[in-house]
Amino acid sequence: MADLSQTAPTATGALGRGSDIKRQRRIRRAIWYALILAIVIWCAMVPVRDGNLSIYFAFMLGATMATGLNFVAGFTGYMPFGYVAFYGLGSYVTGIAVKLLGIPVYLAVPMGGCAGILLALAFAPTLRLSGIYFAIVSLSLAIILQRSIALMPEEITGGSLGMNIGVLTDRIQGYYAMLVVLVMALLTASWLAESRLGRSLKAIREDAEAADAMGVNVVRSRLYAWLVSAFFASLVGGVQAWFTGAFDTFTAFDVLVTAKAIIYAMAGGLGTVIGPVVGTVVLVWADELVWRAFPELNSFLLGLVIALLILFAPRGIIGTLIRRYPRLRNYFM
């Protein structure tokens, strides 16, 4: 081994210099944890004060899906157009476990999450593809999964009528389960962003070949991100089944689920931890406002808002703010 003592930087004399970086990291963490706490308090109070459960559930679901998608799209640059496959599988595994096997729903949902990991492992060879090829193949696989479930015996999946587990589950419990899953996703995101794995993933996103040359195991890192991402989407699908009590292959595998996750994450800022949450808050709130004021023009106006956001802030709200005011990097994860 070459003697690097004369040239390679050593920690001697350099230790302690990183105090400003540590301080910035503490500030970023404090802001992030304060935001999570605010979300928990606000959302937890909704059922108590008879608020609109559906809107807040939609926000939590959107923020979790956008955060989950961000693990793979924002951190590694892979855009899975078929992300809904995991969500749909989570719904069906939860439904079947509750209805046919009599398993309590709070155990069935994690089973759905594990099924999502197994499906992600089965899809793992698609990670060899890149760009639009990966996006299209993942969409195709989601469609294949949807059709496969639709063709399964009616006594298992409910056929075209779908599954109804409403009598076996409690809507309010489902609401709080969604809050728990959201908090898990947000904590995972902040851990990942500061972990060695997270740094590897961001390097891969920027330039996979250069990252490989710098010693990053690209295939393994991508696989980990893919599994974590799939796990959360499957949990969300299971909790959605818990909350609504009813679903079929059209709602469980609706491409809009993926589209919304992508739009929320992009609007807030792919690759940032806080971005998907901000994007979801802004767009769910805008959707609600527009729907109340202009019910006939809802889809048109919301589409316009999204188009303008992507046109004038292609890095999303947080990404654009950080680009314009680099000091904000010290405050946002």
């Binding site: 070459a2 690097l4 590897s200 920027e206 490989d212 040359a213 710098m214």
Partner: protein, 241 residues
Amino acid sequence: MSWTSDPILVVDGLVKRFGGNVAVNQATLEVGRGTIVGLIGINGAGKSTLMNCIAGMYRADEGRVEFDGQNLIGLTPHEIAAAGIGRTFQVPRTFERLTLIDNLMIPMLNRPESEDELIALAEAGLAEVNLHDLKMNNGEELSGGQQKLLELARVMMLEPKLILLDEPFAGVNPTLCTLITDKILQMKEAGISFLLVSHDLTSIYRLSDHIYVLNQGEVICEGGVDDIRDDPKVVEAYLGG
């Protein structure tokens, strides 16, 4: 006959084809331990392709690449990096949306040191190339020359035994050029070996202990600076006779 008694890198009969085009044809070269070996040739001579084959980015069709006694054929780029070969790129490939600190931490992610120690090492690395004041800036906010410096600092973080330097002086102003040259010489003093590709023949002649000339994928001659400077085959390759 080998020019060095202690080669750290041996490339023997390397062939790389792209369809019918033979980009590297039976290339054979050696890099001595603690030496700087220059690799020159006109555009399209196959220099970068040869670098990519050594670094594992391209899989060679034929031949042997041996590094410190270890066969590199079939290894992935990250395995080759772990073996002790670092590389820079002709066009700087910094991680643009990562801070300079994070850029320098990437090659150290497999090391056992704590997070704080890695940050301290990264800061010291930035100080080595006069980029410490920009540590919280993103890679995309640097000039082209600064990006070359960042790449050099980044590859040092791998603690490599051999560095493949691809055009380190391209598009760099004379002041930064001097800084890069000084760093290369310092690292050589510390025992690091280099395979240096450059169109800047003045720098190549100044830094290299031995030079190989590549033309149409083949090594057409090799030798010390004086041998190469006056070799008619080199003149012909560069000036077309």
